[in-house]
Subunit: 148 residues, 2 copies
DNA sequence: CCGAAAAGCTTGCATCTGCAAGCAATTCGG
DNA sequence: CCGAATTGCTTGCAGATGCAAGCTTTTCGG
């Protein structure tokens, strides 16, 4: 028997790798950003006050706290984010989206949209695209880090 | 307007990250393999003569030649693959699946199936799973490295 | 109120990965 | 047939990432 379940998962991982490789190339050359850096900005964008503590950001990016620390440093130098501390809890070090960061993510989202449209070309109906979106959303419902 | 196209791609990348993280943990503890090492074995498994030149393997794994070289070395020490050269073209260095490697991949596939089934739990109909598989397959049709 | 446990962040170390350069073998052009 | 270009592979170097350890601050238990 052919395992449709297994097949779906294999195709999911494969498709993701293919798409991400395309995105990475485009993002690097056009915006000077890695895909993960773009995702970091997008997470901040949809957070209250456009900011998140490092640990929370790590959860949403499905990565480790040390990675967030190291990702934020160069982006801070570029002025895309700032560091902000909490007066109530001195342990917290928020990563805050700056205006420059907000602008950057707007540009990046345009690229993302363009690439997404290109991936579906014209052989896809709006309904099929919606279907795929729904199925994928259901697959990982409840997992942290969903981007709107 | 909400961009369904963009949303599908974002969910694709997100879902893949979530699933891969789960797989990685399970694979490491149960089989002592990384997900990519398992994929390498699976690529060999479905190749003619259960072997592939390093460059071809790199294409199918969507990675670089140097990565394949470095991935193969430890797996060779473990006896999962062997190196084989071509009498016609002395440049070629095939990565060949061994019996031990074939056994390993069978075990790994079982884990993979189990995890895949778990991802879909029971809220999914067979039709929906087939639908997802079809949509994803269509999305990256023609890209190298598809696993059967 | 005090000491223990926990939480948030950073840093050292190890691993994985890609690019560019280098080497060996093959193929191509004239 | 010969030199140039190409192909396959490996290796040096740099960047990204996770884990474990360490530091500071907060919270918890009695």
């Amino acid at each position: 028997m052919t395992d449709k379940t297994l097949n779906s998962i294999l195709r999911l991982l494969h498709a993701s790798n293919v798409i991400e490789a395309r995105l990475a190339a485009e993002f690097a050359s056009v915006h000077g950003l890695s895909v993960n850096e773009a995702f970091l900005l997008m997470q901040l964008e949809q957070a209250p006050l456009q900011r998140l503590p490092r640990v929370e950001l790590a959860k949403r990016l499905l990565t480790s706290a040390s990675t967030v620390t190291r990702m934020a440093a160069p982006m801070e130098k570029l002025g895309l984010v700032t560091r902000q501390s909490d007066s109530r809890d001195a342990r917290l070090a928020f990563v805050v989206l700056t205006d420059a960061g907000a602008t950057k993510i707007e540009e990046a989202r345009a690229t993302l949209s363009k690439q997404a449209a290109n991936a579906f070309k014209d052989r896809w109906t709006a309904e099929e695209i919606g279907q795929l979106s729904d199925l994928l959303g259901r697959l990982v419902a409840g997992a942290p880090g969903e981007l709107a």
